[in-house]
Amino acid sequence: MREHPLDQIPFYAAGTLSDGSSAALEVHLSVCPACRSELANWEQIARAMQEASAAGELPTLSTWVRHSLRRRPSLRESFQAAAGMVWAQRAVLLRGAVLPAVVMAIAAGVLAAILLGGFSQVSPQLYAVIPLFFLVPLIAILAVAYLQSSDTDPAFEILAATSTSPGTLVSARLTLALGVIGLLALIGSLVIGGFAGASLRWLIGAWLGPLLLLSALTTILALVWNPQIAIGVSLTLWSGVVVLALAALQRPFPWRFSPLFLLQPGWEILVAQIFLAGLLWYAAVRLLQRGLPVSRRLEAGE
């Protein structure tokens, strides 16, 4: 004898079971008096619920809703709303030791750059660039992966039920985190420039392009696979590039293009990096708008 499909009966009574399931259930009902009685109970409950819950008169849409409908937000209001949303995500950065860790890492990089620039006999300008070139993209990779892995964030339960898409909120968090890292790195670069006298274009250009490229890549990998894979791939890639650049410092490269151009980026290199990063970020934002973090979580929970 089959098990009674008790879970299906209330939905059959409500009329929301799919045609296929309903047909299968009807076959079972025709031979099972116990389930027919169960169905009768649910039909009574359904009727009582519908009778108990009369909606009453619907008020007209209020004047302030109508007023809000008449006008779309101006560019300035949109910008303010976006900035407000980004700022509202600051709690994520302030939670735990994230922000102090970023500040300390960049401060250590600045100190190392000043020392390297001061002690280097050969090319102090070049050596002063290395610490932030290495550190800033590294910090960005870790921060992005951290933000992507906070699916366990209790706020995600609520996000699933709000009209704000989870992708928008994650984008806001990423913007804030990368903005803070960029700002700190910029301050660090100015300090190094002041002490070591290195070119600001190199100091900033060396980390800016890789920061944008690798954070976009990490976001995409975290969305498509998971944050662990994203960290692994991005870190491996970035350490490879850094090792190549350091090796090129020691001895001239046999190839036509030496990875040293990353340490001393010309305008064309900067523009190319930012353009490529723009393309990657466009893909990342499209992926985020599909709302993968939450849907993945909900699917896993079912």
């Binding site: 089959r2 098990e3 499909p5 008790l6 879970d7 299906q8 209330p10 939905f11 009574a13 409500a14 009329g15 929301t16 079971l17 799919s18 296929g20 399931s21 299968a24 259930l25 116990a34 009685s37 169960e38 009768a40 109970n41 649910w42 009574q44 409950i45 359904a46 009727r47 009582a48 619920m49 519908q50 009778e51 108990a52 819950s53 009369a54 909606a55 009453g56 619907l58 008020p59 849409l61 209020s62 302030w64 809703v65 109508r66 809000s68 409908l69 008449r70 779309r72 339960e157 699933a160 039920a161 709000t162 009209s163 704000t164 928008t168 708008q289 709302g291 849907s295 909900l298 079912e302």
Partner: protein, 199 residues
């Protein structure tokens, strides 16, 4: 056995709601800035959402106020609605979120959580066998814990599938099923005690 239930569950999941959801085109129009479509959506979904809000909050004025909030959220969020769920499910989710917020603002100290009654063995005999017994059943429904009544309401009054009701309440589909069965068991218990009382 198990296979039957799993098969049924999978099939019911496969129903594609969004494709034939008549309100989806309204939401698309709202996303383009069409205020008249919002009015139309309001007249379709407003009564159900208002009843849902009133049943959760027990305050008609507050329910009406939140309904306006929901409509504003729909206006602002229509562009981000991707049609992966039915419009009704989406709006109920927003309404529930806003109702919880309002409730927490108004009475943070009186919040109560799950107070589910024990689950007695299912009884196959009919809950109410006579016409006037429907009145008793309606009275008993009012005495159910709110999360059980909410589940019944989403399933029977709003015609949500198991998965959709789970989505609105932020619980698993298994919880929806168990709440339904507990609600029925609670009703059985309440009706029995009423009968004893009359006797």
């Amino acid at each position: 056995m198990m296979g039957y239930n799993i098969l049924m569950e999978r099939r019911s999941d496969l129903i594609s709601w969004s494709a034939d959801d008549p309100d989806l085109s309204l939401v698309r129009a709202i996303a383009r800035g069409d205020a008249r479509s919002l009015e139309e959506l309001y007249s379709h979904q407003g009564p159900g959402i208002l009843a849902y809000l009133f049943n959760r909050l027990g305050d008609r004025e507050l329910a009406e106020e939140i309904l306006q909030d929901v409509m504003l959220a729909v206006w602002q969020g229509a562009g981000r609605f991707r049609g992966k769920s039915r419009v009704r499910t989406w709006m109920l989710s927003i309404a529930r979120y806003k109702a919880i917020n309002a409730w927490q603002r108004s009475a943070p100290a009186t919040m109560q959580f799950s107070d589910e009654l024990p689950d007695p063995a299912p009884d196959p005999s009919n809950l109410a066998t006579q016409g006037d017994a429907l009145k008793e059943l309606s009275d008993a429904l009012l005495q159910l814990p709110d999360h059980q009544r909410e589940t019944l309401e989403l399933v029977f009054n709003h015609q949500l599938s198991c998965k959709e009701a789970a989505q609105v309440m932020g619980v698993s589909p298994g919880t929806v099923k168990s709440r339904l069965h507990r609600a029925k068991a609670s009703l059985r218990k309440l009706l029995d005690s009423q009968e004893d009382h009359h006797a």
